[in-house]
């Protein structure tokens, strides 16, 4: 191996690592706020990527219809939950959020698919569709279980993953798809070549990390999310609805997943089930960060990406094996370092 190849591998590792970092941060955020280990994170990636690719190819993505259907179920659940105190404002709000909003997105998606709208419009629509799916997923599957144990939430999470993967096959078929790049530009620095796509990966990752930092540090809703993560009972006693915090966490996670997918799909062909494997690598980073630490997760994600790049060079058959084997020493060290943790009750 010479320096050029090493630099290539490192560059490749950092590009992938940046995506894993985004996904890992979303996992940590969702776990801290809702105690859900978000297995369907990978489906957000797939849905984002393939919705974007479909729209760009002038096809109507099934995810837009899924958002409308989930919205209808969420509307029904909201009405059931508030059946004793139904007022006009409450119903109007539920209709607006659960029915009107996804319907508008569906109409726009149909229009865009028919008229071949530009890259920016397609990205915005894909994000809106996946964000709606994410928020409704929390409302339908996790909010009714919010008081149960981590194990129950994990089982529900696995169930959501399986269902969403199956729906992905139904919507997008078994064929892989690619989407148009966000930026065509490319330039060289020495022997390294930077494509516009890899630069947008870095830019968007950094922008998201700064955005999250601003959100958590300086806005009331961001602080409320942190407070829910630090002390759930305390947050409720301050009047913060844990269901609202959960919805915001899922909104952010689905947005991050979809963005990651849209960033990857011009580089790699994505299939309906590719997202799961990508999500798992974010998950490894999150585990190395103890499902707690944001900076540690981001660093671990870069490590995972680099290890993956190097192992694909030396032993590409064992690429996934090597990456996932990283978990074993980490878990071993963590179990030695940390005393047994009792599950939080509430």
């Amino acid at each position: 191996m010479n320096t050029t190849i090493m630099l290539f591998l490192i560059q490749d590792g950092i590009t992938n690592g940046a995506i894993y970092a985004l996904l890992g941060l979303a996992l940590v955020l969702v776990f801290a706020v809702t105690r859900v280990i978000l297995i369907p994170q990978g489906e957000f990636v797939t849905y984002g990527a393939l919705t974007y690719a479909s729209l760009s190819a002038g096809q109507m993505p099934g995810t837009a219809r899924l958002a409308v259907a989930m919205g209808a179920v969420a509307f029904f659940l909201d009405l059931m939950a508030a059946r004793r105190s139904l007022g006009f404002r409450l119903v109007a709000r539920a209709v607006a959020v659960n029915v009107v909003l996804p319907a508008i997105v569906l109409a726009l998606a149909m229009w865009s698919a028919a008229h071949r709208a530009g890259v920016a419009v397609n990205i915005a629509l894909s994000l809106a569709i996946v964000a709606a799916v994410g928020v409704f997923l929390y409302r339908i599957a996790f909010q009714p279980l919010a008081h149960t144990s981590v194990l129950v939430l994990l089982i529900a999470s696995v169930g959501c993953h399986l269902a969403m993967q199956g729906l992905g096959l139904l919507f997008f078929g078994a064929e892989g798809q690619r989407g148009p790049p966000i930026m065509d530009a490319a330039f060289s620095a020495g022997s390294l070549r930077f494509t516009g796509q890899s630069l947008s990966v870095y830019a968007i990752t950094v922008a998201f990390i700064i955005g999250l930092w601003l959100l958590f540090g300086f806005t009331l809703y961001g602080k409320a999310l942190r407070a829910t993560a630090v002390n759930r009972l305390g947050a409720r006693l301050a009047g913060i609805r844990t269901s609202l915090s959960g919805q915001i966490a899922f909104l952010l996670a689905s947005l991050i997943g979809a963005i990651s997918g849209i960033l990857i799909v011009p580089i790699t062909t994505l299939y309906y089930d590719t997202g799961f494997l990508i999500g798992l690598k974010g998950f490894i980073a999150a585990i190395i960060g103890g499902l707690m630490s944001y900076p540690l997760t981001a660093v671990a994600a870069l490590l995972v990406g680099t290890v993956e790049a190097f192992s694909s060079f030396y032993a590409s058959n064992f690429k996934e094996v090597i990456v996932f084997t990283l978990l074993i020493p980490v878990l071993l060290l963590r179990s030695l370092a940390a005393p047994a943790v009792e599950e939080e009750k509430d």
């Binding site: 942190r226 630090v230 947050a235 006693l237 913060i240």
Partner: protein, 243 residues
């Protein structure tokens, strides 16, 4: 004057064990009411049930509305606030953020006045406003917990053992503040093991034993009761024997 909080025939159970039995309670506006009793009498359980943390059987109304279907968060918005025994602060966030979140459900403009009010009541918190809540001393944490509750502009503040584990000088400070709260129009429901201090400051008192109220009345009358004196105040009235 109609009661601010009205609880009729309240029962709270952990599984099959009834921790609170057939309890009725009334608190008027501008009033300090205390519940005294031994460890394990059910005082904390009762407060948590009124707040909605534990399921309560019985009728409970607050400021004229039925609370039965209200979640904790909605009770907070309605003006009911609890400072729990373990304070439940946001330990990794600073004092100012903790207070700001206490005003999550009130309009932004009102939050500003609330900040001034809390900083006037507890000047210590203003000095420490950039310090993490988890690094405060026990007394300061109690002040912060009370401050956070007051940020939501409650009509009734429920305090669970505010003096627990604190130095006497800080306890005196906290009790002085409770008195000031009544003057500013907040009612207080105070649960205390320090019965002497509680009875001194309260208008009315309930005595709880094994999940039931065995005595209630004006605080001074309750303090004068020989059984209360013997069990909770640590002395007997002269010439009488404790029952």
């Amino acid at each position: 004057m109609s009661a601010l909080l009205h609880l009729t025939d309240g029962h709270v159970a952990y599984g099959k064990v009834e921790a609170v039995r057939s309890v009725s309670l009334e608190i008027a506006g501008n009033e300090i009411v205390t519940i005294i009793g031994a460890n394990g009498a059910g005082k904390t359980t009762l407060l948590n049930a009124i707040m909605g943390i534990l399921p309560l059987k019985g009728r409970v109304s607050f400021a004229g509305g039925d609370l039965a279907r209200f979640e904790i968060e909605d009770r907070v918005a309605a003006g009911l606030s609890l400072v729990p025994e373990h304070r439940e602060l946001f330990a990794t966030m600073n004092v100012e953020d903790n207070l700001e979140l206490g005003a999550f459900r009130v309009p932004r403009a009102q939050a500003k006045t609330s900040f001034e009010r809390v900083y006037t009541l507890f000047p210590r918190l203003k000095e420490r406003r950039k310090q993490l809540a988890g690094t405060l001393s026990g007394g300061e944490q109690q002040m912060l917990a009370m401050g956070r509750a007051l940020m939501g502009a409650p009509k009734l503040l429920m305090l669970d053992e505010p003096s627990l584990g604190l130095a006497p000088i800080i306890v005196a400070d906290i009790f002085r503040t409770i008195g000031e709260l009544r003057a500013s129009g907040v009612s207080v429901l105070l649960v205390e093991q320090n019965a002497q201090a509680a009875l001194k400051i309260a208008d009315r008192a309930y005595v709880m034993e094994l999940g039931e109220f065995i005595l209630s009345g004006q605080a001074s009358e309750v303090a004068a009761n020989q059984r209360v004196a013997a069990s909770y105040l640590g002395f007997t009235h002269e010439g009488e024997s404790a029952i």
